[in-house]
Symmetry: C2
Subunit: 144 residues, 2 copies
Amino acid sequence: MDEFMEAALEEARRGLAEGGVPIGAVLVKDGRIVGRGRNRRVQEGASVLHAEIDCLHSAGRVADYRGSTLYTTLMPCPMCTGAVVQMGIARVVAGESRTLAGAREIMEARGVEVLDLQLDQCSKMMREFIEKNGLLWAEEVGEI
Amino acid sequence: MDEFMEAALEEARRGLAEGGVPIGAVLVKDGRIVGRGRNRRVQEGASVLHAEIDCLHSAGRVADYRGSTLYTTLMPCPMCTGAVVQMGIARVVAGESRTLAGAREIMEARGVEVLDLQLDQCSKMMREFIEKNGLLWAEEVGEI
């Protein structure tokens, strides 16, 4: 597997070990990781701490995200999609979109290149998590 | 002025006093403020800390934002707009949209009610800030 998606998966596993939703992300610029994060909604009690937001937060105040690529284990939701657009991120590589279709169209409409790797490893992790934590997931996607 | 927009403006003034971008927000549910925040990009060195994200972060893990209203001194950007959609916030009241048109259409396309109060008090604060801090603002809106 691509080393950057592997790093995003590593973040997801870290989140799972902490009792959180297993979604991870890394931001890559000029061939190196400049930010990393995981969904920490459960751990920090904060709805906005999706993996991508946590990742961009760790990347800090970067005036120019242009040319960077965001790797995330799951297709981003409208908030994270909007963050991609707002920060001028050029490319998003998603591990899968079976668990959540996300808001790919918002990114593509603004010229962001989107790749969906459809990795079994990513969707299997989510499937197992949701089987055991149905309510947490329903809260995550705003169904309760 | 509406007491909630006044509270959002108070947050914006607090940010200005800290040397930050003067944008503030409060989240209101059942007639009371359940979250408040201000743009803290400069203060915290974090690009994602827009006023609305900071506000939702302070509101913590709320399973049901439905029926809530977000008051913000400036029309939200794509990230914050996406957060509104993702969290199921029903209504957004913006202080103004002259400084930034924002991404009103993303919210309206998903059924969020959007009000633009066009308050001189809000746009004057931003105009004065931008006159003195052109580079900071250019970074905020991704122009540098």
